[in-house]
């Protein structure tokens, strides 16, 4: 596991504490026909899936942490364990100093949970009815409720949809309303599972800005999962990456580049369609006199690369970009795939 030690955590209060957690699922395996069918009926074959294996991490107060991993890595399982919906087979979990399983009721007064693929809104009622429901069920004192309602209504621009039925909202509007509802009881920590899933660019931007506002202005601790690495990088200060149920990286986003070798893209536009003799990189793409190379700046210092480029004849334009985080992480996923 790669762990960066340089993260600056000004506050030492631990909000999420996961220690040596393992979770095992059993999957039934079945043949399509023949003897396998009968055998499956009498003695079903089961496959053991290690959804989480010896997972340990802590999140401190005020942190904004991204939780990433490929499909089936164990992200949602972790979220469900933190929310008390699942019990680990091994290990201990505490959120805000409470056990999600044993102290569910007091914990839920302080915790906010949002799963992107489901809604807590009341389908056949206006949004403001769902908010009122939240106030009564969470027993939120009226002044706090009014203050939070005003805040989320303004920041998430909810006024035009407050009287609209949840079932008539667009996906983006529904997510905004769900997020707003989750925040009405001033949670100290929030768990978000794929909150930007399916949102368009504008809705996503608003969601990200709002989450950053909550983290900075209110000091809310946030743990968020997403498949969109660029979103995660923009929101979070720290990333936890899991693969095959194991924690494989814990640190800054930038630290990921050092693992993959700080890959950088150099695009050369040539006067004529003559391939430049560029020796430091791998050619990724060539089209109509534009050549894109991938260069590992950990291996070749930038000074040498620039010096070499200055000697190539016929260059019309040079563009140097860092490899997208999406690509860096994709490479890491590939590398960790199948790692025991």
């Amino acid at each position: 596991m790669f762990k960066q030690e340089s993260i600056d955590i000004s506050c030492t209060d631990i909000v999420v504490n996961v220690q040596q957690v393992s979770k095992v699922y059993m999957q039934i395996q079945r043949d399509l026909a023949g003897q396998g069918l009968i055998k499956g009926l009498l003695q079903p074959q089961k496959k053991k899936i290690n959804a989480l294996e010896d997972l340990s991490f802590t999140i401190h107060k005020g942190e904004f942490v991204a939780y990433a991993g490929p499909n089936g890595a164990g992200k949602s399982t972790t979220m469900k364990i933190l929310a008390g919906m699942l019990l680990p087979n091994q290990g201990t979990v505490s959120v805000l100093g409470l056990s999600p399983h044993l102290d569910r009721i007091p914990l839920m007064r302080k915790l906010g949970v949002l799963f992107g693929n489901r809604t807590e809104l009341w389908w056949d009622h206006p949004i403001q009815q769902s908010f009122e429901w939240k106030r009564v069920v969470w027993d939120i004192p009226k002044p706090i409720y009014q203050e939070n309602l005003a805040l989320v209504t303004d920041l998430l621009d909810l006024r035009p949809i407050l009287k609209t039925y949840a079932r008539e909202l667009s996906y983006g509007q529904r997510m905004k309303a769900d997020l707003a509802m989750m925040l009405l009881h001033s949670p100290e920590c929030i768990l978000l599972d794929e909150p930007t899933l399916g949102l368009d660019v504008v809705a996503k931007r608003r969601m990200i800005d709002f989450l950053k506002y909550l983290n900075v202005q209110r000091g809310t601790t946030i743990l968020v999962t997403s498949h969109d690495m660029d979103d995660l990088q923009e929101m979070a200060h720290r990333i936890l990456m899991i693969s095959n149920g194991r924690l494989v990286y814990d640190g800054h986003f930038e630290g990921l580049r050092t693992i993959t070798g700080n890959m950088t893209r150099i695009t050369l536009t040539m006067n004529q369609e003559i391939e430049p003799g560029f020796e430091f990189g791998t050619l990724l793409e060539a089209s109509q006199g534009v050549y894109q190379f991938e260069v590992d700046l950990m291996r070749y210092p930038i000074e040498s690369v620039l010096q070499h480029l200055s000697q190539i004849q016929g260059i019309q334009d040079i563009e140097i970009n860092r490899a997208p985080m999406e690509q860096v992480i994709s490479e890491l996923f590939q590398r960790w795939k199948g790692t025991p």
Partner: protein
């Protein structure tokens, strides 16, 4: 603690009553249609057997007025179940389990019993059977010239609640199967309660003893309306029989509670890898 729980219970009941009214009054056409459908459904559910018994002058050893009283009692039990447990599938818990919707319950800062005892309350859209059941019971009581004393009313209310507890306990007991087989057992409580609803309307007097015992124990259709009616109409002479429905409902409730607890323990171990967006909240 108890005082606070009672306060919270009534706050939540008030909330769900308001939400039910809001749902009913969303537009005129919808409100008229919903109320009309409720009336038609209620009348048709009891009219078949009632007309049959009236035409035949009774069923088995019972006169038609006695049959009418029993039907009224059965309708009231159904009505109370609909009033208190129809909303959000609280009375059909297997649907919540089978649809992966129990997870919604985990994130509310309320105990599960508190959630299940309040979320189903629909005083405006599901009170049809309570009204018609009450009217039938009052009508039959008049026809039978029953001496309605305070003790008799207490007996009546007690037996009514006992029958309601029995129905809810059966629903939860069978619903617990959905923890282990969510897809197949999603609708199990609906099927079981529907079967009981059809069976409970028949007086068991003329039935063979073995069938009576079966319908009062394994398939307790007789315990919902017929048996309590025998007590209320004094057709049963032994005083200890009053305690039978109570003991039965308590035992069944304990079994249901144990089954649901075991199921929930299984649920948090395995999870349910199935989530359907419809059905949790209407």
């Amino acid at each position: 603690m108890v005082k606070q729980s009672i306060r919270r219970y009534f706050e939540l009941m008030k909330l769900y009553a308001q939400m039910d009214l809001g749902w009913l009054l969303r537009d005129t056409l919808f409100a008229v249609l919903a109320l009309s459908a409720d009336v038609v459904g209620t009348v048709s559910s009891i009219s078949g057997l009632f007309l049959l018994s009236w035409r035949l002058g009774g069923i088995g050893e019972w006169q038609r007025e006695q049959v009418l009283f029993m039907l009224g009692f059965a309708t009231l039990v159904s009505g109370l179940f609909q009033l208190l447990f129809t909303g959000n599938n609280t009375g059909h818990f297997s649907r919540r389990i089978g649809r992966g919707q129990v997870e919604h319950m985990w994130i509310q800062p309320l105990s599960f019993p508190m959630q299940l005892l309040t979320e189903g309350f629909l005083p405006f859209t599901a009170s049809g059977n309570v009204i018609s059941g009450t009217l039938i019971v009052v009508f039959a009581t008049t026809l039978l010239s029953i001496d309605v004393t305070f003790v008799w009313i207490l007996q009546f209310v007690g037996l009514l609640l006992t029958s309601l507890v029995t129905v809810v306990a059966i629903s939860y007991l069978v619903s617990s199967l959905a923890f282990y087989s969510p897809v197949q057992a999603e609708e199990i409580s609906t099927y079981v309660l529907d079967s009981l609803r059809h069976l409970r309307n028949f007086p068991l007097n003329a039935m063979p003893k073995s069938l009576q015992v079966t319908l009062l124990s394994v398939i307790p259709a007789g315990m919902i309306a017929w048996y309590p009616t025998t007590i209320l109409l004094n057709t049963s002479q032994t005083s200890w029989r009053m305690s039978v429905p109570l003991i039965y409902s308590v035992v069944l409730s304990m079994l249901a509670l144990t089954a649901i607890r075991k199921g929930l323990r299984y649920y948090v171990q395995t999870g349910i890898h199935r989530y359907l967006v419809h059905g949790h909240r209407r």
